[in-house]
Subunit: 212 residues, 2 copies
DNA sequence: TAGATTGTTAATCGATTAACAATC
DNA sequence: TAGATTGTTAATCGATTAACAATC
């Protein structure tokens, strides 16, 4: 793995799609796949796929294509799926609840280790396999267990305060579902914003195009 | 509005970000703004912003910049925010519940008109200002009220079936939260997929980069 | 008028595609 | 061996940036 640093963000953005496609092939017990087949499945060109992979190494074999199991493993390495990252979730409202119950953290290589809320009526109840912990215990938990990442599903008005606490106790990444732009001074703390408004506006644009 | 057809998707992808920024300025009672100021706020170049806007028309004035109210209106027109689209939501589990309660449909120009579920224990209950309707009445509702779009938050195993029904009764867009690739034959029906796995994998990649 | 800032043209940069030698 | 398909180099295409005349 790893060959050429400075991978373009366009390439990175495509890697999760590659992964989902190859993971599917893997689960269907496919042994090998060519760049042409992948291209067809993903609506891309074979050339682009080979070019993309070659940023990270040589994963294929002339005349054969790619071994699905090996390729899957390599992409896992690239994306960090094999790093056994831990995650906590802060904010067990309906959104947090939905993620705990339905989101496949394992598929991304993450282990959800604890969930927190500030609402007394929720604390102590069980969601999925998790007992909701008291928000006040968050700092202690962070210090004790040093989770790698946090899913932030708290109400917007406390987003900054919670993010600050996470940052101070050494979190490495925040998966941010609040609509707030988190300004975290430490550049080593990565934030991935889930901006649903942009997604719906893209749909709005798409259905508007033709009719004008 | 509208000048040059065939807008590149890179430009379209930036429009919602422009909109959020300008909407914020508007709410802060800003009267005018220059491409330079926007660039600074968004971390882009002034050149790119002017180039992007010029795909759709001439919204500014030399020596002055852009009138915030006018620019906001023009971007609303571009994205279809002024088209008064209606939406229904199908699937009132925790995710659907969260969207009904917390997602700002109005900000995107959408009106949520009805919500549906198949679970007898949920049907008839009130979420936000909506009484949950019976899934069986979906087809009738679609025919009667012809909503423009649907938010699909049903379990994966019924996703295709529900999407099929929506498509047959003339829906124009589907905001798809299920992990299923919806294959809808009618190309006039637009689908916007919310793929949260890709988002978390991007975070995973970001926190992996340095440590290797 | 002088200063500021647009819209647009031209220049640069980067990303995608095509072609092909290498080789399994 | 012959056919297939890689990784990579070169060619093309598109997107971003820089420059500047137009003009408010």
């Amino acid at each position: 793995m790893k060959k050429n640093m400075n991978i373009s963000s366009a390439v990175i953005l495509r890697m999760p799609r590659y992964y989902r496609c190859i993971d599917e092939l893997y689960r269907d017990n496919c042994i090998r796949v060519s760049s042409g087949t992948l291209a067809q499945r993903l609506g891309l060109t074979a050339s682009q796929i080979r070019q993309d992979f070659s940023c990270f190494g040589e994963f294929g074999q002339q005349g054969y294509g790619y071994n699905v199991k090996k390729l899957r493993y390599e992409i896992q390495e690239i994306l960090g799926i094999n790093n056994n990252y831990t995650a906590i979730l802060v904010g067990c409202g309906h959104l947090g609840h939905a993620l705990i119950n339905n989101f496949d953290f394992e598929k991304c290589g993450f282990t959800l280790t604890a969930v927190f809320d500030a609402d007394e009526t929720i604390i102590g109840t069980t969601i999925g396999n998790y007992q909701v912990r008291h928000g006040k215990d968050l700092d202690f938990y962070l210090e004790s267990f040093q989770p790698d990442t946090a899913v932030l599903t708290v109400p917007g008005d406390v987003a900054h305060e919670v993010a600050e606490r996470l940052a101070q106790h050494g979190i490495r990444g925040i998966w941010n579902y609040t609509n707030c732009d988190l300004h975290i001074s430490n550049p080593d703390i990565k934030v991935e914003n889930v901006v649903l408004i942009d997604s719906l506006l893209n749909l709005s644009y798409k259905i508007s195009e033709k009719s004008e």
